[in-house]
Symmetry: C2
Subunit: 247 residues, 2 copies
DNA sequence: CGGTTCATTGATGTCCTTCAATAATCGTGG
DNA sequence: CCACGATTATTGAAGGACATCAATGAACCG
């Protein structure tokens, strides 16, 4: 699940306005940056949850393995996100880098101590967890009743949205994970994911489909195909502004 | 809300030392009990989240409706459970009574205020949310990769477990919800749920299958069929003690 | 009791998976 | 830089698990 609380830019803005440089991310400011290579884990499911992490750059997959070898990817974590906040004694999942990744860490003990004593941070932490909960619930809805096409569109739309709010490469969605990761996240097989991407490409919804990025040509249609219409109006505005720009 | 993390043991110790018998449920002690009839809602998805609820008796379903009418049941809430804790501005789902139900309520404002100021309660609230998160993640795993049979077995096992720890009617699982509710919760159709129940009955895993209760004859087998083996040892012990009793 | 809702069971259909082969991409060493 | 194998992705054909459609049967309630 996406653990996005605030994008970097947003965090910076808030810090500036309040003249109190306190966001959850700020807590990690003085911690040393650690480098994690692709495929390397930063912790495993069941490990004692000793640390809370900030992802400075890169991306990670969050997953669980069932006894018979099946894997479920429960989320992806990107730069600016926090990891390991809403946990009790042990990690509920493993976390593994998708690409070269930089992280910072705090001990839970310190993290909890600081957060608890701060008037500003405590509500932030609560908001963070609520967002996390909302994201997981959306994913439950996706898994419980959406078709393969809807699942993929929902997935792409979420990532498009993220890349739009960050302001980077308009309508080009970076996908650092493999097809297998996407499949395990969406409750599908790698073949079905591949087929759906091809299908969307054929329909003209996607263009320039590559292994680790796609260009969304018709965000509005993508939103329609995603199946929840709460994001529909949002995508409409994107498509219109995109259209204007190209004319 | 201050989010401190203590293990259960630590929290209990502190409570004991301070002679403050405070749990989250205690907060509702002086609130008037409200009666809710079957089918009646206590709030709707999207409503402003003004209250936190304690379920005193009865049961509720928690669900979301998609634009095209599809319904997803994201959970069930039973007596002793709290409802509406991990939310931001609005409710993420609707809550509807399955049977005659008694609830108590507090305003979020008061709830947050009291919880935040209490050394005992703050960690309790955090633990509560973490448990909720763990449960939702388990459900994600179920929906992402389990077969219909595994889903039903997992569901029954969870409820068996609950009724065992409560000490009531050994191995008889109460199911106050309809088959449709179960189906919408498990990401299946009503027919498939029905067929799987029949199948388990035929296998001898279940006996005395009724509309709103089933008797689990072979908890161990049920656990095996559920697909995650973390609960397997637990069920083994049940079956053995059950077996001894009957000899 | 009789109507209504809810659950079960069967027949058929379909969406996704599985199996299998090919193709594209990446990394590595010559 | 290209060749090479290894990994990853795409595409096709066949099968299966669950959904859909339809009918019957059981439980609930005034």
């Amino acid at each position: 699940m996406p653990l996005a609380s605030y994008s970097r830019e947003q965090a910076a803005k808030i810090t500036f306005q309040q003249a109190q440089p306190e966001t959850l991310n700020c807590l990690f400011y003085r911690q040393p940056v650690e480098f994690v290579q692709p495929g390397q884990s930063i912790f495993f499911e069941g490990d004692e949850a000793k640390h809370v992490f900030e992802v400075v750059a890169g991306a990670l997959r969050i997953f669980r393995i069932l006894s018979d070898g099946r894997r479920v990817v429960t989320g992806f974590v990107f730069d600016g996100d926090l990891l390991g906040v809403s946990l009790r004694k042990n990690y509920l999942y493993s976390a593994e880098a998708l690409v070269d990744t930089k992280i910072r860490r705090l001990t839970r003990k310190n993290f909890d101590l600081v957060v608890r004593q701060s008037e500003d941070l405590a509500p932030r932490a609560f908001e963070f967890i609520c967002d996390e909960m909302a994201a997981v619930q959306d994913q439950m809805v996706l898994l419980a009743c959406k078709s393969a096409e809807e699942r993929l569109c929902t997935f792409l739309l979420k990532h498009l949205r993220k890349s739009m709010t960050k302001g980077e490469g308009q309508s080009v969605v970076k996908l650092p994970m493999t097809r297998q990761d996407m499949a395990d996240y969406l409750g599908l097989t790698i073949e079905t994911v591949s087929r759906m991407i091809t299908k969307l490409s054929t329909k003209g919804v996607l263009g320039c489909v590559g292994r680790h990025s796609v260009k969304v040509m018709k965000p509005m249609l993508l939103a329609q195909l995603a199946g929840d219409d709460d994001v529909y109006e949002w995508a409409t505005s994107i498509e219109q502004s995109e259209g204007r720009r190209h004319n």
